[in-house]
Amino acid sequence: MISFTGVTKVYPKGVSALTDVTLKIKKGDFVFLVGPSGAGKSTFVRLLLREERPTEGRIVVDGVDTAQLRPVDIPFFRRKIGMVFQDFRLLPERTVAENVAFALRVLEVPRREILRRVPQVLHLVGLSHKSRAKPAELSGGEQQRVAVARALVNNPPILLADEPTGNLDPETSWEIMSLLSEINQRGTTVVVATHAREIVDRMRRRVIALENGRVVRDEEKGAYGCEA
């Protein structure tokens, strides 16, 4: 589903964020991407989204070599990846349902289809009863569930989360991670960049550890690791 081959990313100012990263993530995998601050996790995410291009190496996502993408192809490429951020990125003046529907409206999905899918996905994340609330009326965990619903509503094969629990307390974080795990169980490939050590240790999933831009560990049923 995702393959990095010898990927190096050097930012314009000479900062080398990723160095010679080679890894494969199979369809249906659940992967934690861990590592200390500045290790290159967000860079990994941006490369996957094709917000940045690798300085060297090849990235293939769902059969698409990202180097071959023309600018006009990028939007269609991004539809393969549902994205969740630490800061939720919801539209404050729109309701929960509108926020989720927004992602479909901008893809020109027919209205009838939107009316069908939005309640479904809100049900999946357990927010059916809040569909008319505005983001400000929700807890952090609930807001992140809305963001997850929005990422999923178009049924992307990949769900990518960059520190999805960074702003949440441990209990809520656990709920969100469980939700992501549940989504993975339904067949979506999930990649989570995170600092949440306890959760990673508890979930026993595949862990890819980055340090100074290099993959230092890649274990099935791994743990966060001793250092960092």
Partner: protein
Amino acid sequence: MKLSTWEFYISEAVRSLVRNRLMTVASVSTVALSLLILGVFLLGAVNLNHIAGTLEQQVEVSAYIDEELEEEAVAEIVAMVKALPGVREATFVSKEEALERLKEQFGERQDLLAGLEENNPLRDALEIRTISPEDVTPVVAELKEIPGVAKVSFKEEIIQRLFALTRAIRIAGLAIVLLLVAATVFLISNTIRLTVFARRREIGIMKLVGATDWFIRWPFLLEGIAMGFLGSLPAIALVVRFYVWLTTNVYAALPFVPLLSPTEVLRQLNLLLLGLGLLVGGLGSAISVRRFLRV
């Protein structure tokens, strides 16, 4: 493109226009003011052009003939004038004919001329057209030498001045119009820049979920075009009112000034103002969309 897509664009554009209503009002007013000034200038230019053209078609040189002269003497003068170098055409116009013409020019306000038949103040004249405008001065000099010619007048100078004035107005008008258009485009692009900024969250999310570039751009372009459209409406209304008022008054007070009638000019002018409003709005937003909407 689906209908629901256009609904989305329009609702986003309206949302944004309302959210930034102060800037919207400022931009729309600028568009209106610019187009109004442009409209007035254009009306001035086409009318001056028309007046100059009308005058040019009229006689270039008139030689008024002594009233006491006999018919044979008049015929002799006509023959002499026709033989002058530089003269293309010379026609005798009796004072009765001259009065008839004047009546025609006055049109509905002929009453102003009532009673002139009995006491015709006009004179018999020779209307002379020269081969080229440069011939006017020598021909005038020759005419003055002919005995029996009481007075010579020519309009060349006034026509030249009118044309010069038209040219000046056109150039000044063009400069002012370009300036106004540039200012308007700038203001609209600035407004759109602010709305792009105000909506950067939406834009970020749209990009993230895979909206196409044009899908993201269209609401902003529509917003600019809408501002241009909204500005052109009051401009058109005011230009129409102004011109109808002007022509009504001029036709009444100065019937011999050949202003174009409102029906002759306003339809084209309105279309032009409308088109220009849309263009200015579209251009302004396009500039900002290009510069600030990195998609």
